[in-house]
């Protein structure tokens, strides 16, 4: 059992130590910058901190890394909302509604909400972490290939929710994403697929350059056609700090998205991108006004940002209780812990309550710093929108292409971004939705490899997906989503036909 007294004692020590407070703050700021710049991810930020923090006491090093983690995930919202460039896969869904809001001149408001939503997500998952961590360890272990396959399947059904008006075009776009994810070494047999002798294709198309290309270039190409007129900005504090009443109004969404994010975080090897997609989909489904999603509904931003930051607390659960990383960032952090001589795992609670206490406290501290920094920063961030289009377009191209490059320092990724960006432009012009392609790209390889792995385990017996309770439950949920989407699509087509004969698009 957790010795709360020892941990609490350590927590008090942490809060009263100015040096550590400062380091957490610096780490958070560093993370925010990393997250906001396209192509620089929280994982990279934490990896960069390892040699820097090597000489520090373990608690300080951890504090800085946790700050970077939480800041890094939250920072992605800035470029997503203001520039239509998702800095990390986690903030893809923030783009859908955040950017339209910014276009309507409500960028500051969206950013304010993003900051608070990230904060809430982080805090709620933190509460789960400190109270339920040991009990939730069994949740991570109950997940095996059939469950992952079911989860990926469920994720793919969201294509219907992000398809916009034409479901056929949405599915086509989604299939294209899955097709891209098939490129590279086969996950089971290791044979080459569609690599055409190119070594860069061996490990497949990386998600981030594809996402950056898909989202940013079409937007820039569309925006570069005229001088444009920067909107007058109102950046009084009142306009971007959501009032307590407003926060209460969206509390259901916040709690739902936090729970989704935390659960996805607890399941190892998933990640904040999937969490945000699921939360976004659910928010849309439960909304009274689902059609406004994608055109600037603040609930979309809230769901996405809450969920992706809730993953942080969730991902720490398997790391602390089992010694298994919850996502790529926690993997780096575990490396950092090991360098400092600590073995993350259940006995950490017994042997090193000081470290556990420091982790618990630093997560909360980093969250507070993250919200504060963002609120202070918003005033400066939104100035970006007043930069004339003539200079902004070029700069955005440069930033996006560096973003493609920086993740793997591989020039091939720039070409990937460029090609998919060009295709994305044509797709946008032709009314094809981009979001399903990205979803397919993120989930396609997971779906395929887990299905095939499950079949290896069951030796070719498909019943494995339906005889395991978790897997069956997720599949049923997915079926429900598909059927309801078709029913709805059918109804809208019918309604449309009734209204006019102008045809659908």
């Amino acid at each position: 059992m957790i010795d709360y007294f020892a941990i609490f004692g350590e927590a008090l020590k942490v809060v009263t130590e100015p040096q550590l407070l400062l380091l957490v703050a610096v780490g958070t700021l560093f993370g925010l910058i990393f997250g906001a710049l396209p192509g620089l991810t929280a994982t990279m930020g934490v990896a960069l901190l390892i040699p820097i923090t090597y000489t520090m006491p373990a608690a300080n090093a951890l504090g800085m890394m946790l700050g970077c983690y939480i800041g890094g995930i939250a920072g992605g919202a800035v470029s997503a909302i203001l520039l239509h460039i998702p800095g990390t896969p986690a903030s893809v869904c923030t783009v859908f509604d955040g950017y339209p809001l910014a276009k309507q001149g409500r960028g500051a408001e969206a950013l304010g909400w993003a900051a608070f939503a990230s904060g809430w997500g982080s805090v709620i998952s933190w509460v789960v972490l400190i109270t339920l961590a040991p009990m939730l360890a069994s949740v991570c272990l109950s997940f095996s290939s059939p469950e992952y396959a079911a989860l990926a399947f469920f994720g793919l059904t969201i294509i219907s929710a992000v398809s916009g008006k034409s479901i056929a075009k949405g599915i086509l776009s989604g299939l294209f994403g899955i097709m891209i994810s098939c490129i590279g070494l086969d996950p089971i047999y290791g044979s080459l697929r569609f690599t055409f002798g190119n070594i860069n294709l061996l490990s497949g198309i990386d998600t981030l350059p594809a996402i950056i290309g898909f989202f940013s270039l079409p937007e820039i190409l569309q925006g570069c056609t005229g001088k444009g007129n920067p909107q007058p900005l109102s950046i009084a504090l009142r306009t971007f700090v959501p009032s307590l009443r407003m926060q209460l109004k969206h509390m259901v969404n916040i709690i739902r998205s936090s729970i989704i994010g935390t659960i996805v975080g607890i399941i190892p090897a998933t990640g904040s991108g999937i969490a945000a997609y699921i939360a976004y989909d659910q928010a849309k489904r439960f909304s009274k006004d689902p059609d406004s999603f994608g055109t600037g509904n603040i609930d979309g931003v809230i769901a996405s940002e809450t969920a992706n930051n809730a993953v942080c607390g969730g991902a720490l659960v398997p790391m602390l209780t089992l010694g298994i990383p919850g996502d790529s960032v926690t993997a780096v952090m575990m490396g950092g812990l090991i360098i400092h001589g600590y073995a993350p795992g259940p006995s950490l609670f017994m042997k090193n309550p000081d470290i556990v206490g420091a982790i618990f406290t630093c997560v909360l501290l980093a969250t507070i710093f993250m919200v504060l920094f963002q609120l202070v920063g918003i005033k400066f961030f939104v100035k970006i929108l007043s930069v004339p289009v003539s200079y902004l377009s070029g700069t955005l191209v440069v930033l996006s292409l560096i973003g493609c490059f920086a993740l793997r320092n591989n020039f091939f990724d720039v070409i990937v971004g460029l090609v998919l960006g060009g295709l994305g432009y044509l797709m946008v012009k032709g009314g094809f939705p981009i979001a399903p392609a990205v979803l397919g790209l993120i989930l396609g390889s997971m779906f395929e490899s887990e299905v095939r792995r499950s079949l290896q385990i069951s030796q070719g017996n498909y019943s494995i997906f339906f005889t395991r309770p978790v897997s069956l439950a997720v599949i049923l949920l997915a079926m429900f989503v598909i059927i309801s989407a078709f029913v709805k699509n059918f109804k809208t087509i019918k309604a449309k036909k009734g209204r006019s004969q102008s045809g659908e698009d």
């Binding site: 994982t43 290791g190 089992l322 010694g323 793997r408 385990i457």
Partner: protein, 329 residues
């Protein structure tokens, strides 16, 4: 006669001075290396075991020589992209690559045009013993039990591995051939997934580097069954080697999971000697040894260049034969 001796010694001296690295004692002070930061290309994304091991060199180099090592992650192509980039850099000693057995396996598969003779070896930094393990307090407490169970009911043992054509793959294939039985193999994307599946009881045995299960071994939740190495590992001294159990897993040659530092071909021999001595000093330091013990890897004791080349060629040859004898489907 006197003159001849004089000339001969003069010529000998001249030759000696021209010979790299051996000449007059002053030659050591003439190479001024390194004068700036050294770039170390890690061919994987940040956060993997190799990345963390490479990053650990940074503070040690700073401390010992006041040299900055900048780690650059060039991921892609199962480490092929990054190492190719490192090897095509200017051979001035300021760009190095952190290669591993995965790169040697890639060469051996001949799927992509890569060659062994394009690199200069600086040192072998890490040798990770491979181990096969199961969940502690499960049905199986020894490798024999696992193999017997599978023999009695072929394919009943579900066996998780990470990746496809790897060191673990060769060892497990050899073991299965020696024992005359075949597990149901399930490849996962990474070792941490294998560990999770084992802990969750979804698969029976797993195989990976010792470093990947160190935490769980210390916690007592995972039981290592066998070590695929010539000697027992100091971190799991109670686990027998394959040879002790009567299985020869080195019949293809001495294959190991190693990480080594490479430089592009054509490096100035003086610079190479300097680099080698710097790395040797760092690898021999107490801090690095302590780190190795924590991570569960060993540092092979290689004397000179000969040893180094021999070591890497052995691994590569093992993979070459392995690729022929155990083709992945």
């Amino acid at each position: 006669m006197k003159k001849v001796v004089l000339y001969a010694t003069q010529i000998a001296l001249l030759i000696a001075m021209l010979m790299p690295g051996y000449g007059a004692p002053s030659s050591k002070s003439t190479i001024n290396f390194p004068t700036r930061e050294i770039k170390l290309i890690v061919p994987w994304s940040p956060g993997g075991a190799n990345d963390i091991n490479a990053r650990f060199l940074q503070p040690l180099f700073k401390e010992k020589f006041n040299v900055n090592i900048v780690v650059e992650n060039v991921a892609g192509g199962s480490s092929g992209v990054g190492i190719t980039q490192a090897l095509s850099a200017r051979p001035d000693g300021y760009t190095l690559g952190y290669a591993s057995s995965s790169y040697l396996a890639l060469i051996a598969q001949h799927m992509i045009d890569l060659k062994l003779d394009r690199m200069e070896l600086i040192c072998v930094a890490v040798e990770e013993p491979i181990t096969m393990y199961t969940k502690a307090n499960s049905k199986y407490s020894s490798l024999r039990q696992v193999l017997e169970t599978n023999k009695a009911n072929p394919g009943s043992i579900k066996f998780g591995k990470s990746g496809t054509f790897t060191t673990s793959y060769i060892f497990s294939s050899l073991l299965q051939r020696e024992a005359g039985t075949k597990f149901t193999a399930i490849p996962f994307d990474g070792a941490s997934r294998v560990v999770t599946e084992i802990l969750g009881g979804h698969i029976d045995v797993g195989i990976s580097n010792i470093g990947d299960i160190m935490t769980q071994v210390k916690e007592g939740s995972i039981l290592p069954l066998v070590v695929f190495a010539e000697k027992r590992s100091p971190v799991i001294p109670n686990t027998p080697t394959a040879a002790e159990l009567g299985y020869d897993v080195f019949s293809l040659g001495k294959i190991t999971q190693a990480s080594f530092i490479v430089a592009p071909k054509g490096l100035d021999p003086k610079v190479k000697t300097k680099l080698m001595s710097m790395f040797r000093e760092v690898l021999a330091s107490d801090k690095y040894k302590e780190f190795a013990a924590q991570r569960g890897f060993t540092i092979p004791d290689l004397k000179g260049e000969e040893d180094l080349n021999q070591y890497i060629q052995n691994v590569n040859r093992g993979f070459e034969v392995g690729a022929k004898e155990f083709p992945i489907q």
